[in-house]
């Protein structure tokens, strides 16, 4: 049986790990290669690097991070953040990543999903989404790190992305992100019901039981967290032990 995945996310700026809380107040905490290696030892099923480097010139740093991580970490690596073209995707995959996560640029130009999937395969193309509730069972998609409301209906967007060839969706709820009260179950449920491709829950994990809750209440395939693992409040092993106790298949 397929295991539910637990995925730590490392926010990286200029080649160093940072984590914003609600996308604000960034604080530096370490070397991404070392962090990835540590998570790998704890049993991470996959590692996500989210590149928040602002300048175009600084973008090469993430490629070195991926290259060095791929030499000592043998689980899938995903890179997101600022991916704007097929060339960006190619460079990241060549550096040793297994998948890319496209977000804002895919909203502005959905063809990026199709081109990426056609050239590299759907399995490489994860669509990252930041969404916020506007009414009961209704959400809209935001871009630029949750700053700009595109007035695009979330459910329409995920269906379209699946049709274009996205292989996976990483769904971040702006409402629950940083609040640490658990994942956004209604939003996750709505998205997992709307598409067949795997959905990764993101935003809101605050305690060990939040992961199992997402797996029990929705059909999500994986759950992602950053700061919770990052500040050693919980290890990935703690989360998996809790899931196992509740009958959820984990590696």
């Amino acid at each position: 049986m397929l295991a539910k995945r637990i995925i730590p996310c490392l926010d990286v700026r200029d080649g160093r790990v940072v984590k914003g809380v609600n996308f604000k107040g960034i604080k530096e905490v370490g070397d991404p290669v070392e962090c990835a290696y540590e998570y790998n030892k704890q049993g991470a099923d996959e590692i996500v690097f989210y590149d928040i480097t602002a300048s175009h010139e600084g973008r090469g740093a993430i490629l070195d991070v991926v290259r060095n991580t791929a030499k000592k970490v043998f689980v899938p690596l995903t890179v997101g953040g600022g991916i704007g073209s097929v060339e960006d995707i190619r460079a990241i995959l060549r550096a040793g990543a297994d998948k890319v996560s496209v977000n804002s640029q895919a909203v502005k130009d959905p063809q990026l999903i199709k081109d990426g999937a056609d050239i590299f395969g759907s399995q490489c193309i994860c669509l990252g989404i930041d969404a916020k509730k506007i009414a009961e069972n209704k959400w809209t998609v935001y871009i630029n790190g949750g700053r700009i409301d595109m007035h695009l209906d979330l459910i329409e967007w995920v269906k379209k992305a699946q049709d274009l060839g996205a292989g996976e969706i990483c769904l971040n709820s702006i409402d629950t992100d940083g609040v640490r009260g658990g994942f956004d179950i209604p939003m996750l449920k709505a998205v997992t019901d709307a598409v067949d491709i795997p959905v990764i829950a993101s935003g809101g994990a605050g305690s060990v039981g939040d992961f199992a809750e997402a797996f029990i209440k929705t059909d999500c395939s994986a759950a992602l967290a950053a700061s919770l693992f990052h500040f050693h409040e919980l290890t990935i092993k703690d989360v998996k032990d809790d899931c196992r106790k509740k009958g959820i298949p984990v590696r």
């Binding site: 397929l2 295991a3 790998n40 030499k71 043998f74 689980v75 395969g121 399995q123 590696r251």
Partner: protein, 198 residues
């Protein structure tokens, strides 16, 4: 010397990183001489079947791989594993290398499970295989939409995903991993280590 066959399609560097990490002497090559001189061969692959077979033909490597597979261990990984079979029905009908009897077909899992099959799934052993340890409950990483259809005697391990998915196939010297051993943590590294000691 383990040669990773380079035909312009594949996860060559991930495989090479894993071999280096294990201290296994290796080389990425598209040269016939290297393939003939190798102690064992790895055929990686990512992408679509017809395109990969076309590239392998254009590189002039089909015959040498078929011949060398009679003489030394060969491991196909993911699409490279699928290429070991007789033919695939991905985007039409394309002949494979014919080293393991069977076909490659779109997965049809029961219960509306998503395709591609992405993630960590448990290896269920089906008989003895020198690449597998005795331990149970081991997970490996899969990313694929098509799967091998072959006789039970060629299936060394499978996994459950709304159907029995052949995970590790074997026909004598020829091994095929549907999963990515180079991305499957310690379990995957152990499989590569065992392959390198054949």
């Amino acid at each position: 010397m383990t040669v990773i066959i380079d035909y312009g399609a594949g996860n060559l560097f991930s495989v090479q990183n894993a071999l280096y990490h294990l201290g296994i002497e290796n080389k990425i090559s598209s040269k016939r001489d290297d393939i003939e001189a190798a102690d064992r061969l790895i055929l990686p692959g990512v992408g679509a079947f017809p395109d990969a077979m076309r590239k392998l033909k254009e590189a002039g490597l089909v015959d040498v791989i078929k011949r060398q597979a009679q003489l030394k261990p060969l491991m196909g990984i993911c699409l490279g594993m699928q290429m070991l079979l007789d033919k695939s029905y991905e985007f039409g009908e394309t002949d494979g290398l014919g080293l393991i009897p069977g076909t490659v077909e779109l997965m049809t899992p029961a219960g509306g499970l998503p395709i591609p099959h992405i993630g960590w799934n448990e290896l269920i052993k089906n008989g003895k295989c020198p690449l597998l340890s005795e331990s149970a409950g081991e997970y490996v990483y899969f990313v694929h939409s098509y799967a091998a259809h072959t006789e039970d005697k060629y299936i060394a391990a499978y996994c459950g995903y709304g159907m029995k998915v052949p995970a590790l196939v074997q026909n004598g010297n020829v091994y095929g991993c549907q999963f990515h051993p180079e991305k499957s943590g310690e379990t995957g590294l152990e499989i590569l280590r065992r392959f390198a000691s054949l």
